[in-house]
Amino acid sequence: MKRLEQGERHTVSLILNGVPRTGRADNRTLLSDFLRHELGATGTHVGCEHGVCGACTVRIDGAAARACLTLAVQAEGRRVDTVEGLAGKDGELNDLQQAFRRNHALQCGFCTPGILMSCSDFLERVPGPTEAQVRDMLSGHLCRCTGYTNIVKAVLETAAERQARREEEKHA
């Protein structure tokens, strides 16, 4: 049992987008703030800070979750994936990001990093979702620009593309 005292800075090590990273955090530091201020990963946005808006959604050990409702010290030793990890090494957008761009699924882009991280978890679990399932998953995110129609389109398009690619690989 290790008691982490308040008012002190503790070392937190985690795997951020596949890369081991270490920083310092108070007990009360939220994972969202730790990612942005300590590790410089400012792709994760902070909106409401009580779990409603979804802007800060990241993947913790693969599962989409609110970084603002997680303490940095709770992420010790965990795999954390953020929007910075989606694009390839050369900066090429992944298929989901490209679909968002193609379909104008974002305007100001503030909510987009969280939505992308939810979608990346969701599409792995539900590879062939219905529109209703996609809308249900997106209900955990607030977007004040798009009206969601184009986001739904981009997600469904990505799912269809991935299905087609899997079929192709099966018969290759």
Binding site: N27, R28, L30, E49, A64, A65, R66, T70, S118, G140
Partner: protein
Amino acid sequence: MKPGAFDYIRIDSAEEACELLAQYGDDARILAGGQSLMTVLNMRLAQPGLLLDVSRTAPLDYVRLQDDKLAVGAAATQASVEWRAGLAGEVPLLKLAFPHISHFQVRNRGTVCGSIAHADPSAELPLCLAALEGEVVLRSKKGRRVLKAGQFFQGMLLTARRPDELVEEVRYPLAATGTGYAFEEFSTRHGDFAIVACAAVVSRDGIRLAVGGVADRPRVARWPHLEDSALDAALNDFAWDLEAQDDPHASAKYRRHLVRRLGRRVIQQASAATSGEK
């Protein structure tokens, strides 16, 4: 919107949690999924001196069939129950209720025991536990006690848990043959807090209707098989019995209306679900 200062301990076992709860009592809070507690801390509605984090306490991370119940440990997430392949056959009411619980991203981290311990009067998991007459296992240094849902929920965010006790496990009774289950909820937007939520259990013995979002805790009515005007009258009495209050989301009158309408609907659905079986 940042929490105040607290000490933090990552807990390895239920024994350790109980030892610390015995020592610190009310000044310590159990942190599991954090989907309610972190919100409360961020808004500084609570400022405990010590957080005991059970979210990675391996011995408490289980969902298993135990006698005629589905037992869920304190560290098990809602998602780990929701995504069980056999849930629709095991506890059909939970299968129906999960889509109404906040959002996918929140259920990924939120725990079942945490929602029960938090005891929000509009929350779905306490409502289902009350409807099914499930059990809560409370553990302290001195031992365990098992309470029925009706004994555990005491009021708004208020339970029979003593300061030195951990909500170690929650037990949802498995589906019984010849019994039908139904769940309906009305909220402003999908995933918001329920204005009224209703769960019905209809069996050979009669009807159980549980209502959330109206009284200070989930409330259960038990009736013999009623139909038509007799059912309307019983629903109307129950709707008044809940002593609905006006608030910015809905008037008391509207809540009574929803109890009558949703109540009738879930009872009809649950009755229909029984006729398919022997």
